[in-house]
Every structure is written in C-alpha cells, then in structure tokens.
C-alpha cells in the first residue's frame, strides 16, 4: 500500500506536469526589461478608447489600494514574482492602448456572459471601461448596418494591432450555411477569416472556439470546428473551458499588453500560466483523495463531508485548468466546491468523452500509449491514461480498505 502511495505521489509531482514557476533571477530580470521597454513604447501611442482607468476608479469610489490589490492578484495568476506587480498595474493603465475586437460565432454567448460577471468590480471596470472592446455585438451601442461599418473602420484603423477575440465554433458543413450573419449573409467562416486577417493575434475564448465544443459533439451535425482549424498563419491563443474563466481572458490580454507577445503555450495552444496544472493538483479535496476518502454515491456521508469526487466521475486528474485556484464568479465557488465532479470542460472532446458521472474506468476510451513525458507540451494523453489506471487501482484499494475497517 505504502509503495503504491509513493508511486502515486511521484507521478503527481513529476516535473513534466507543471509549469516552471522559478526560472532564476536572470530570466526574470531580462523579462522585466522587456516589459518595461514595451510599456514605455505603448505609453507613447495614442489611446484606442477614451476611458482611462484612473477616471473609472474615481467614478466608482475605488481606491488606489483596491487597484493594487487586484494587480497583485493578477500578478500571481500570471505566475510572475511579486516584484512585477507595479508593471501589472502600469499595464492595466495602458490597456486602452490595445484594441480588442470581439466576435461571436456559433455560440451560446456564455463567455460574454462570464466576462460580464467577471471578478471584483475593479476588473469589471478594467474590462468594460478601459479595454477598448471595438466590436462586441452584445455590448456595443451601434447595431446592424452601422455596426458593420464600425467594424470595417476599427479593422482599418488598428490594422495589425488589434486582438481578435473569438467566441463560438465555426460550422463548416453545407458550405457553412448553418451559420451566417449580417445583411450579406456572410458565413461565420468567411467572417472569421476576414476579421482575423489583420489582427495581431487571435484569442479563441471558450471550448467552442478552441475545439468546436458542444456543437461539435457527435455526430457533429453542423460540422463545427475550432478557430485553429480555420485560421492559418496567425498566432492563436486558446482559452478553453465552458465558460472560459474571465480571469484567464484578462490575464492573456494583460500578458499581450505587457510583452506584445503571446504567453507561453502548451501543445494545445493554451497559456501555461492557466493550463500548466491539472485541476487535481490544487484541488481543495485532494487531501481526501490521498487519504482514500471518496464520495461513493450522491448525498452520502462522503458528499456531506466534501470527500473526493473521483469515483463519481470527476475528471480533475485529466483536466488542465486553474479553476481550483481561481474559481468562478469572483471566487465564490466552483463545480467541485458545489459537490459536482469536474467534467473536463477545458479538454478537447469533453462533450463526448468526459461528460457527466462516468468514471474513467467504466469507459471504452483508449488513449494513445506513451507513458510519462517530460514536458507539458508532450504531456497529452499519455500520463492521463497512466494516472487513470493508477487512480483506478487506488480507488479500488481504498474501498477494500474501508470494507475491512467496517468488518473489524
């Protein structure tokens, strides 16, 4: 038993599964220089929107202290040392220099909704008042033909500079006729390609935009795919999850402001600062997993005592995301906190493979072999399967152990 535990402990603390959060003074010094230079350059450029963070803070009666509190939290979320906090604050002030064009395709508007309900009031201001959301169908004042003209103008004015944020999948079946927009009935595919063409980078927000999401669920009637299957020759940042965590959206934009580059990405183009860990690694119920204490059925004593949900089909060990740290709705709660296992919504094909209370040991899902790889980039399904088996054994063993105790 002890050997098994040690083997598990090794597996879950393997270096390959984590983002490196300590790269030495040299790395951070040079990073700081790069950022300082970039921010100085940005400061010289004209603002894309009129609102400034100072005026917004003042109007809302928020203090400098509130703002700095947010900045230090954002600094931690980006996995940077705390001496970067002043830079983060400066970047937030300069956020209005970077135009953002937000387009909605085959979606449920859930990500826009999530961002509208994003973190503490300060961040709301950051996003809604100072980030220049040049084009968002739900938020902007113009509509219809005026909106179309507005989009053209924004794309022209900020050519090569704007971030193109995409929400929703792209239906390709029937020549894309399952989704059209505008007076000319432009297909989503053409619309995306047109807007992405002159952008600095494309940010795919939510699992639909990244991997096709629920519309792509078997049998994928509309032929839905993600942005990376349509847009070629552009830097693409994937921020999956259903809905994507607003903290990760702001974090990515903030990173772009700070460096002018896309953040470090994993093999699925996800920023490592957010997707460099599994749900399982930082889960608040992890101690119960290690102690072999599981919820065996809904509503049992285990459920009442917040035991581990792995046996109820939690996909935390297979899912890379930072929900267990950042949580949702201004840190109010998250699915595991509410007693429901993770459904793996930031992983490709979660809708077919992971959905609902289906423990991994019961599925026919076979992952490619490969064992434990060294880096997150190669990590993929190899370790996931290995962990699944390991956990399977562990879970069975714990049940046997529990029964034995009962017998005595």
């Amino acid at each position: 038993m002890i050997e098994k535990r040690e083997a598990l402990a090794k597996m879950f603390s393997a270096k390959g599964s984590k983002i490196n959060t300590n790269r030495g003074a040299e790395y951070y010094d040079s990073l700081m220089q790069t950022m300082t230079k970039r921010l100085a350059e940005l400061e010289q450029t004209p603002a894309a929107s009129k609102a400034s963070i100072e005026s917004v803070l003042e109007a809302e009666g928020l203090t400098r202290r509130d703002f700095m509190k947010w900045a230090s939290a954002a600094c931690a979320a980006l996995m940077l040392p705390s001496n970067f906090t002043p830079l983060i604050a400066q970047a937030a002030v300069l956020m209005n220099r970077v135009p953002v064009i937000w387009i909605e395709l085959q979606d449920c508007a859930g990500n826009s909704e999530a961002i509208l309900r994003s973190d503490a009031p300060t961040i709301d201001e950051l996003i809604l008042e100072t980030i220049s959301l040049e084009f968002n169908e739900t938020l902007m004042a113009a509509a219809g033909h005026a909106a179309e003209a507005h989009l053209e103008e924004a794309m022209h004015t900020f050519k090569g500079k704007y971030l193109c944020v995409v929400e929703g999948a792209i239906p390709l079946a029937m020549n894309g006729l399952y989704g059209t927009m505008g007076a000319k009935a432009e297909t989503y595919k053409d619309h995306l390609i047109r807007v992405a063409k002159d952008s600095a980078a494309v940010v795919a927000v939510g699992t639909c935009a990244t991997f096709g999401g629920v519309p792509a669920a078997s049998p994928n009637p509309t032929g839905a795919v993600g942005v990376q299957d349509v847009v070629k020759g552009k830097a693409i940042i994937n921020i999956p999850a259903c809905p994507a965590n607003p903290a990760n959206i702001t974090g990515t934009i903030l990173h772009f402001v700070l460096t002018g580059q896309v953040p470090e990405l994993d093999h699925l183009n996800r920023p490592k600062f957010a997707f460099g860990y599994r749900i399982h690694d930082n889960c608040e119920r992890r101690a119960h997993f290690d102690a072999g204490e599981f919820v065996e059925e809904w509503g049992d004593k285990g459920a009442q005592n917040n035991f581990c949900l792995y046996k109820m089909g939690c996909k935390g060990p297979m899912t890379f995301n930072n929900c267990s740290i950042v949580r949702y709705n201004s840190g109010t709660n998250w699915p595991i906190g509410a007693g429901h296992g993770c459904i793996g919504c930031s992983e490709p094909q979660f809708w077919d493979k992971y959905a609902q209370e289906r423990p991994m040991s019961d599925t026919h899902f076979k992952a490619p072999t490969g064992g434990v790889e060294k880096t997150v980039d190669q990590f993929g399904l190899g370790l996931i399967t290995a962990a699944g088996i390991g956990i399977g054994i562990h879970a069975v063993a714990s049940l046997v152990a529990a029964k034995k105790e009962g017998d005595e």
């Binding site: 449920c108 201001e125 239906p171 989704g179 927009m181 709705n329 709660n333 998250w334 459904i343």
Partner: protein, 417 residues
C-alpha cells in the same frame, strides 16, 4: 426593407414590408443553428445534463432544470426532497432576476436614447450569479442538478451568504430601479408614474413620447412552468383558466428560418413575465394591462415587477429551507434500464421552456426543446401572424418596431439550439 436586429443575445433578420407608410408584414428569420437535438440522440440521458445547459449561456440554468425535470418525468415513482426542489427553484429565480436587470439596462434604456449603463446591469447580475454559484458551483453553465436531487450540500453559512446577496440586490433595486419601498405592494400604475428611479423615468418617457398603446398583440398569454410561485394557465383578455395541457403544444418547421413555430391549439400565445403576471394576477400589472393593454409599457413593467416579487419570494424560500432533509434520493432504477418518455416545463426569464425526452434501452431516442423566444417570435403568414409580428403591424417607423420587438426580450441563442 431588411433590418438586422442585434444586441438580442445573437442575431435575427427582420424584413419589413410597408403598405401606405405603415408596417404591413414582418418576416422574421434566424440564420444559424447548432442542431443540439440531433447531438443528444443516441447519447446517455445523463449526458443531457451536461450538454443542455450549454444550449444557452444566458438562460442555461433553465435548460438544466428543464432537462432534469424531463428525465425525472420518465420515472413513475421517483421522490425528490423538498430541500432539493426548493434549491432548484431558488437558482432558477436568481437566473430570471439577473436576466431582467441586464435586459432593462443593456437593451431597453439605450433604445430610449439613454447611455448604456453597463455597470448598473452587471452589478446586480453579479450578485445573483454569485448566489447561483453558491449552490451550483459556477454561472453560467452549471450541472449541479441530477436525477433524484442536487449534488450540493449547503450549510447554514451558505444560507447567511445568500440572504446577504439578496438583501444587497433589493438595496440596488431601491436605490436605482424604483426609489420607493412601496413598489412591491403598489397596486396602481398611476402611483408608479409619480415615483423616482430608472423605471418610473422610463415609463414617463413612454408616456411623453406617446408610446403607451404601442406593441399590442393578441392579448393571449400562456405559462406552463408551475412552481411555488408561478401558476400554470392561460389568459385570454384577462379571463384566466388553469386547465391547459402540454399535449396541445405543437411545433412546426418553417422553410426560410432555422427557428420553428410553436402554437397551442393552433393559436399563437405570448409567453414571458407579462404572461406570468396576468396568470398570477399581480395587481399592479393587471392595473397597467387594464389601462394600456398588452403594450410595451405593460411588458416592461411586468418584467421589472418580477425582479421585486422573486427577490421577496426567494427570501421566504431560504428561510423555510430545512437543511436536515436529504439533497439526493436515489432513483428506484438506474436510468440506463429505462424505456420511457418524459416532459417538463419551466418558466425561464423569457417565458415557458419545454423539454421532451424519449428514452429507449437507456439511450436517448428523441429530444425536443421548445424555447420561450420560439413562442413569441413564431413567424406566421400574413393571415395568421405570430405574436411579435402582430405587435409591430401598423407602426410607421422601424425604430419603434425594433422597440416593440425587443420588448419581448428576444434571445436568439436559445432559439437557434
């Protein structure tokens, strides 16, 4: 003349036909679809609990509650504790409330020439989303309701947090929306005109701009989703009857649009807060309806009224919540053994939402979703117009038509499921 209507949580295309400078007919089209019903076929019924909330990011919670209701309806002898029932109702209430705030501040006010007040929309919505997250883990897209109950095990602490969130939201209403403590008990619309706040200001503007009588339709209302607050029934020119059956609800395809038509006994009905208020006989709304009919004024008033009513009702529900009851009662047989069909109706922010499921050998054979916007926006022919089409007839300008159209709080996301 074709006009694109945006900012309705998605997009719709309206084609206005004029005759003698007045709108004669409006063709409504939705131009996208995801085919969720096809996706559900052949899947495990429990998968629907994960996929269906994702039909809509705006009222996804109503889809979850409707799904769990339809699946539970497949059983003959399933038990659910009062606690689980109440918790589901509470989260649904919170979703309704936050939607109404967003509609009022993000959609309605700008239509009347006011600046879009994003923060006024997001602040109370955030409070309500937090309240849902306390039970459901996150908002949007929670899957915390399961066949047999709910997964959350809330504590007295959560109840206190919840009461706090509700109190804060009520305070927001009294500080901004209607600056009067008497609004929730007010029975006369004339008194609301004299009050202060964003709602009375808007109502006065409607009066000044002579829009009081605009947007009248069939004066036919229906609501199926009964719970501890809402009643099921239909209202024909204030005559209310509660004997209605889902069997008479019919969905039919239209060749030109991805959205399907919905009718009850071959007639189109309006759904939404005004319908619920008419069937529940809310005195203030009844008074407004008596004076101004089923106009935009009545629709706006009913929607805002519902915020106050649901907040007060939710307060009582939380007080009555007995935490010693079980959250989950195991269903008598596993769902994978079932051969049955079930249906459910819940009141979502925009009206009655219906889910129907057919399970064969433990697998979904058929799934049908009828959304509120389908009821209101059913595109009829010139001889038999849909509810919102009828409401726009005879108007002379497109701006007012858009206002009337949006007074139904259109959500194309659901409709293009």
């Amino acid at each position: 003349m074709i006009k694109l209507i945006e900012k309705i949580e998605g997009e719709a295309k309206l084609n206005f036909n004029f005759k003698d400078n007045k709108i004669d007919f409006v063709d409504i089209k939705f131009m996208s679809t995801r085919n969720i019903e096809n996706i559900l076929r052949g899947k495990s019924p429990l998968d629907a609990l994960v996929i269906n909330p994702r039909v809509c990011g705006i009222c996804g919670h109503a889809h979850l509650i409707a799904t769990v209701g339809a699946l539970e309806d497949c059983y003959d002898d399933l038990k659910i504790s009062n606690k689980a029932k109440t918790i589901r109702e509470l989260t649904l209430n919170f979703e309704l409330i936050q939607n109404h705030f967003k509609w009022f501040y993000l959609t309605m006010l700008p239509l009347f020439g006011h600046k879009q007040q994003v923060l006024k929309a997001t602040y109370p919505s955030q409070l309500m989303a937090k309240a849902i997250a306390l039970f459901g883990g996150q908002y949007p897209h929670t899957s915390y309701a399961i066949v047999g109950g709910v997964v959350c095990e809330i504590t007295e602490m959560d109840k206190i947090k919840l009461q706090h969130l509700i109190t804060e939201t009520i305070k927001f209403v009294e500080d901004n929306l209607v600056k009067s403590e008497n609004f929730s008990v007010c029975k006369n619309i004339d008194n609301v005109f004299k009050m202060e706040g964003d709602l009375p200001n808007l109502l006065r503007q409607i009066k000044e701009e002579k829009l009081l009588e605009r947007g009248k339709s069939y004066d036919r209302f229906i609501a199926f989703g009964a719970n501890s607050y809402f009643k099921k029934g239909k209202s024909l020119k204030t005559r209310v009857s509660h004997a209605i059956s889902l069997n008479y609800v019919k969905e039919s395809e239209i060749p030109s649009s991805f959205a399907k038509n919905v009718s009850y006994k071959e007639k189109y009905y309006e759904v939404g807060p005004l319908s619920r208020a008419m069937i529940n006989k809310i005195p203030l709304v009844i008074d407004a309806h008596r004076k101004y009919g089923d106009s935009i004024l009545s629709r706006i008033l009913a929607r805002v009224c519902e915020i106050s009513q649901l907040l007060e009702h939710s307060k009582k529900l939380i007080q009555a919540l007995d935490l010693s009851e079980p959250s989950f009662i195991e269903p008598p047989v596993d769902i994978s053994q079932l051969n049955a069909s079930g249906c459910s109706a819940v009141e979502a922010a925009r009206g009655t939402l219906i889910h129907k499921v057919e399970i064969e050998n433990g697998v979904i054979k058929n799934y049908e979703i009828i959304t509120p916007t389908q009821w209101n926006l059913s595109g009829g022919t010139k001889d038999k117009q849909g509810v919102s089409q009828k409401a726009m007839i005879g108007l002379s300008d497109i701006k007012t038509a858009e206002l009337v159209f949006k007074s139904f709080d259109v959500c194309s996301v659901c409709t293009t499921h």
